[in-house]
Point group: C2
Chain length 503, copies 2
């Protein structure tokens, strides 16, 4: 076999671009965070659902924002039976399929959560991967905005469970119907939803412009609502061709937030004019605010914010976003707000794609990597640094059974422990390995120790701290971080030391 | 938008064949089991590793058993840059890639575990899916069989942590080198590994035959080692064309197990004749048995069993398998042993594919679905039935804020709870929903209760039990499972009731 392998050129040990590996600590911290969020979802009565990574392409539908290619944005291939299959690009499309497929068996309303990777066939970039994790919760089968309010409350609880302090985030809530009302007054949307293509295209431009308010500022958005905008790189983006008065109405909308929800809603009523849809939207916002208030969620934790739009086309009512309000220093060295880590809204038409019947639904998706990055920037989880194992050095080849037996005793006592299994009996090399493993303690049993029935316990953490402080060689040799103990005391002594170093 | 959707034919709400969805309880029980196994792996000093689902096809290599097609057995597609990418079919191939890619950064030896789905492009069948979970642990970078012994000990601990009783499983250990020694004495393998194709093909037939001993019995294996075998469906499988004496040697090998490891090893020494490789293999088996003994793993929990072969071609030394020894009734109504739930071994050549340098490695893969099925058949996990939420009925539309506020109080007290959010105010429909949710308690606040400042708590579990016992309508109407309490006592009273029903 070895000979055959030599003939073929060696494959490169690399990942396809836009993908990455996650090691040790990183995986543990993410799983802990997801487990805390799952506890919140569970307490709210949501059940887990795990769909497979693969779906029929037509079941997924084309709902990725800004993607016009065939198979746009997804990884797909043709199955043996000629059907096209693709990796899911989010958790919402598979949920819509499940809600349709099992509609006679599932409880209604159906509350479910889902955590797992999704895949996007997009150009990778810094911090932009082609596989990433999402953590969703949705309620399918109810049109009451109490369900939307509940998702917002749950999102606030989930962020706190993950480790974000109450003052560090805001759940911002808006309603597409209000926005539609405003668009009606500007002529970008007709009341009966029957627009020509040109108007629909201009409306798309306007929506994307509003969504970029954070990045482009008021001037940039105004330009995109009007003739268009020349960006820094010299590229020109065509605008929505609105007049000054219409632009004022839209800008009035995105800056309609007032001191409290009631005043914001009053301002919105002025802006929507006579639009019925707009009025319905404002009523819904008022009800959501009232329901959240009843559960003690109020500003700054949760608030009505008309500048929230959300990119996806399929939202039909309330939309919401979790924004982290603390400042970070970005790649360019500039201070800015951390920004959005989760978003969602009501999508009453997605399940209808399969069944022909309207099935109201609402839900949120947390960007797991964004939230982890936020926690890291706030130093949350740093206290959860996973300790490496206690390493028992293997200094005499023929004593492996003895080391293993001691190691088994430690593990039975609940201690994370391992015997060094690399080659050779060099103590320095083995201690280096223990350092690389972030090992708190090394257990040293040489021939001399074995004969005397003792073991040396070396405190590697303390050793490293002392090494940083001690300057003279004499002090170093005193080795205060190393202790000799009787062999029958070793488990007890290690438990004791670990309890002290970890407290 | 609704109009456009009507034009396109509706997609079917189905999954591609061979795939399935997992709901609620199923997901929770699996995650609990995996979390317990991860605790064991962690205690043994193994770190988690998460590689992405996609790898370059050439990085995966062709190591699936019995697959000769191009892209054989995997789901793959061509990326934008023309390279071929595929979904991983196991966790070992990505580990080999990681061990090569990060060989300068990772500690050596590198102990890692990995849990997640893998994908096989195979014909689906009953209980045979194209996406399923694996749970692996491997040690890369050490040639000592102490690493193999450690994996076997850890596997025993992991199975116990998952809920398999010590008397219900056996870790069976063999060594490919012993088998190779036996094959040398039969002429199916030359001492220098330089065989012609015909011999290699006959050797493959013999290996697959031995691996089928459980299913075919001694007669069937003997036939396959000789001229060939006609199966029940009338298909003829060509044999390895060995003579009677050679067949006796091989059958002697697979039935070489004796009362204890020492006697088994003595018998193996007779069978391998003068083969150096065979002698090395027996020595390794003796050392593994000694190391396991030192950690108190001995028969029946762990034992040398020469009938273990393992299907994969890449194993180079010790191989091991976890077998569940209790009986189940199979699909045909016949009693049989549950069989294998995990297997692994030493594969010293896999990393070399990338680096050209031999990197010894050994590890095990647990078949997660097989193990879950085993636990189910032993009724383990049944006690972990996840309770549905307390359901607060929504009997008056304008009282939603009140229900939500009560619900928030319950959740803050740690109770899993939800407000009914389906349409309408029909109590019967809402109680039916609560039943479907496996709800332990329903909270009923009608207009009358609200005015009197009380709530009704209905014990749905007790109600169901009573309904099964009670025959006359009068008794039923007495409703002992329903209790009226003061509104300010509701959280306390529900906590109290849940503690009683769950104990």
């Amino acid at each position: 076999m070895a000979k055959k392998l030599k003939k073929a050129p060696r494959p490169k040990a690399v990942l396809p671009r836009g993908l990455r590996d996650s090691f040790g600590q990183e995986v543990i911290i993410r799983n802990q965070m997801l487990s805390r969020i799952a506890d919140v979802y569970h307490r709210y009565g949501f059940d887990p659902l795990e769909t497979p990574a693969l779906e029929y392409v037509e079941a997924l539908g084309k709902f990725l924002p800004d993607v016009d290619r065939p198979m746009g944005g997804v990884f797909g291939f043709q199955d043996d039976d000629e059907s096209w299959v693709a990796l899911r690009y989010d958790m919402t499309a598979p949920l819509a399929r499940v809600a349709a497929q099992y509609r006679n068996e599932l409880p209604s309303p159906y509350r479910r959560y889902a955590m797992g990777p999704v895949w996007r066939n997009e150009k990778p970039g810094p911090g932009r991967y082609r596989q990433f994790w999402q953590c969703d919760a949705d309620t399918v089968g109810t049109s009451t905005v109490a369900a939307d309010a509940e998702i917002c409350a749950m999102l606030a609880d989930a962020l706190q469970a993950a480790g974000i302090a109450p003052g560090d985030f805001a759940i911002r809530i808006n309603n597409r119907k209000v926005l539609n009302g405003v668009l009606e007054t500007t002529g970008l949307l007709s009341g009966d939803g029957d627009d020509d293509e040109a108007t629909a295209s201009r409306r798309g431009i306007a929506l994307r412009a509003i969504d970029k308010l954070d990045r482009l500022g008021e001037g940039g958005v105004r330009a995109l609502l009007g003739e268009g905008r020349l960006d820094e790189s010299g590229d020109f983006t065509k605008g929505a061709l609105l007049g000054a008065e219409q632009i004022d109405i839209i800008m009035g909308f995105v800056s309609a937030e007032r001191e409290d929800g009631a005043k914001t809603c009053a301002r919105l009523r002025e802006l929507i004019g006579t639009s019925e849809q707009g009025a319905e939207g404002v009523n819904e916002l008022e009800e959501i605010a009232m329901l959240l208030e009843a559960q003690n969620y109020r500003a700054p934790v949760a608030k009505i914010d008309p500048s929230v739009v959300r990119g996806l086309a399929y939202y039909t009512g309330p939309v919401y976003e979790a924004e982290l309000t603390f400042e970070i220093v970005d790649e360019k060295g500039e201070k800015r707000q951390f920004g959005s880590v989760a978003g969602g809204g009501r999508y009453d038409d997605l399940v209808m794609r399969f069944t022909g019947q309207r099935t109201p639904a609402t839900g949120v998706s947390i960007g797991v990597d964004r939230l982890l990055a936020a926690l890291e920037s706030r130093n949350v989880g740093a206290s959860e640094t996973v300790d490496g194992p206690v390493v028992i050095l293997a200094l005499e080849r023929d004593q492996m059974a003895h080391y293993q037996s001691l190691c088994a005793d430690l593990r039975k006592a609940g201690v994370r422990a391992e015997v060094y299994m690399g080659g050779g009996t060099n103590m320095g090399k083995q201690l280096k390995y223990a350092d690389k493993r972030a090992s708190p303690l090394a257990v040293i049993i040489g021939g001399d120790e074995r004969e005397r029935g003792v073991v040396q316990i070396k405190d590697l953490k303390l050793g490293a701290e002392l090494a940083a402080e001690i300057e003279s060689n004499e002090e170093w040799k005193a080795q205060p971080a190393q202790q000799e103990i009787q062999q029958d005391q070793v488990v007890h002594s290690i438990l004791d030391r670990l309890a002290r170093t970890q407290s």
